[in-house]
Amino acid sequence: MRAVPAPLAALLGVVLLLGVAWALVVPPFQVPDEAVHVQYTQSIVARGELPGKGRGVLSTQEGFALVTAQNGGIRNNMFPKPEWSERAFHRWERQARDLPDDDGGAYFPQSENPPLYYLYEAIPYVAAGGGSFFDRMHAMRLWSALLLLVTTTGAWLLAGEVFGRDRVLQLATAGLVGLQPMVTFISAGVNPDAGIVAFWTVAFWLGARVLRRGLTLRDGVALGLVVGLAVTEKATSWALVPAALLAAVVGWRRVRARGDAGAGRALGATLAAFALPAGAWVVTAAALGRGVTNHAPDRAGVSTPSLTSLHSLREFASYVWQYYLPKLPFQDRYAPLLGDTSRFYTTWHETGWAAFGWLEVRLPDWAYSVLGIASALAILGGVAAIVRADRRRRADPATVGFLLLAALGLMLALHWVDYTYLTIARHAVEQGRYILPLVAIGGLAVAGSVSLLRRRWRAPAVGILIAGLLTLQLASLAVTAERYFA
């Protein structure tokens, strides 16, 4: 077994420490939807079933913990603070001792999620069973933060496949992924987005590996299994399947072209490895009368958009265009986006970089402009690096296509969900954290930009990048602490 490279080991130490800091600084329930995600796991452990048919949304135990720690309620309201009183805390300790934990688990939108992340979180929930509700909740947060180590390692390995054994570029890629503040914030809370970021990053590495080296039995099984598990972790991961399939098929063709007799077996094993967890979830969901994916609520008198409806597809195309660009003369105005001229900036960019709590804890506005310029430079640099590599015949179009297809699949899935909710409920559901599964591609773009520099300037440039990300982490922790505790 090979030793962990020293730069990666040190980076993982940094990522772990920051993950612990986030898990302890953010007040309970101030990660988006954290209460219902905790409830999902509590429902599995305390009731022995997936949520959806319980008595209340939250158990009495969790509901009381939420009201007390939030001092009534602080969600989306910057005025009140969480409970600061030690007396209130000790009062809660006395009163919460024997409250039931098995009377929650009624339907909530996230109860439609597949169960893998919540089963993973059941381990710390059970392990911390001798403690209070908050002991369990913070054990879940720390356990979730470990996924950040998987994500960071996946990004390091991905860069190794794309750039070869170049430690500086690997550090740039993994550094961006492991130190991006929104990734840390989400991963260090109880939220399945921690898992999807890890799964997608590892899948990118395995896909790039299959494309570069050809489809072997071991790599194919690993890729199939990771993508299969990803769809049992969050339904959005079905958007990864076409890209993974592309990687497997191209990898299979490349091996077959070399005359390897085992190519067909490797492809079959890849598909079987995917089908095993994904199929198990499909069968389980059918047996339990649940959907395999999440569904938009039905509204009386409003027809839900359909992929088989030409009208829906045309309106969807118009919606996507107007999400990013001004309306064209021949297009109808998509009313739910009316007056919102920079949705992609406020959603994908701002809340993808730094929007903590329930999105209301922000950096100063100018910081997003700086991050916007930095992001644009990274994207342009990444494209320039691909063009340069292509001219030197060192770029692999299949790898570029694989990553682009994954990105396109995710964006299409997210936009379809957003369009559906906007159409039936005038309610936008997209948040920047939903594109974090693509953060490793961002890491590659940054490393690609660095690769354009002369060799002797690359390491100092990565030094400045890491320093910038650390400053951003500190600033993010500071605004979070200020909002809740000052």
Partner: protein, 218 residues
């Protein structure tokens, strides 16, 4: 090359941290602690000569003034603000006048009240027209009383310190507050240790990672 990379990292991080420390030291706040949901909603209507009390209030930081918000349709509304103990005995008192506004902020000052005291904050309408203080349902174990009757809503109040404190100066207080509702063993000390790790060990690890990566590239 490793030396140049670490120097660039150290310089950039030093500038970043210096900027953050400067910002944290220059943002001053006089807020000791808030009560209620904020200035927008209306808590209740207080008729002439009636008194509304928010009780109980645990004083979470030393304070010597309170700010609240009020709606009135008169050019001015005279009010008497009384701090009472939980038995109803007056401890501090101030007379103030609210201007017309939607809502208008009102401040009352009094001799200092120490952290840890439990009080009621009462606003008596001594004018001739009803007034509507801001508030709403917020606090789990408190509420308002009018003529001895318990109401569901809470008054929105901001208790103020006698002098402003910077975010940097509030760090010990913030760590104490952050330690609640965590693992049972977490205390303010945990956050001091974490802060030391994040400010000392994290940069050291990053510098090490950079140096090793740059060396490998050489």
């Amino acid at each position: 090359m490793p030396r140049r990379a670490v120097a660039a990292f150290a310089l950039a991080l030093g500038l970043g941290v210096a900027f953050l420390v400067w910002r944290a030291g220059s943002i001053d706040s006089t807020v000791a602690f808030p009560v209620g949901p904020g200035p927008t909603p209306v808590a209740t209507i207080v008729p002439p000569r009636a008194e509304v009390c928010q009780t109980p209030i645990e004083v979470l930081a030393d304070t010597r003034a309170v700010e609240f918000w009020l709606r009135t349709n008169r050019p001015s509304a005279p009010l008497e603000v009384t701090v009472r103990d939980l038995r109803g005995r007056p401890l501090r008192r101030d007379r103030v006048t609210a201007a017309r506004g939607n809502p208008a902020p009102v401040s009352a000052s009094f001799a200092p009240i120490r952290e840890g005291t439990s009080i009621a904050l009462c606003i008596r309408n001594v004018g001739s027209a009803p007034v509507a203080p801001s508030g709403g349902e917020q606090e789990a174990d408190a509420g308002t009383l009018i003529a001895g009757q318990r109401r569901g809503a809470d008054l929105t109040l901001v208790f103020l310190r006698d002098r402003p404190r910077s975010d940097l100066g509030l760090v010990p207080t913030m760590f104490r507050r952050a330690a609640l509702f965590r693992f049972g063993w977490v205390g303010a000390w945990t956050f001091w240790v974490l802060a030391a790790l994040v400010l000392l060990v994290v940069p050291a690890l990053c510098a090490f990672a950079l140096a090793r990566a740059a060396r490998d590239q050489d």
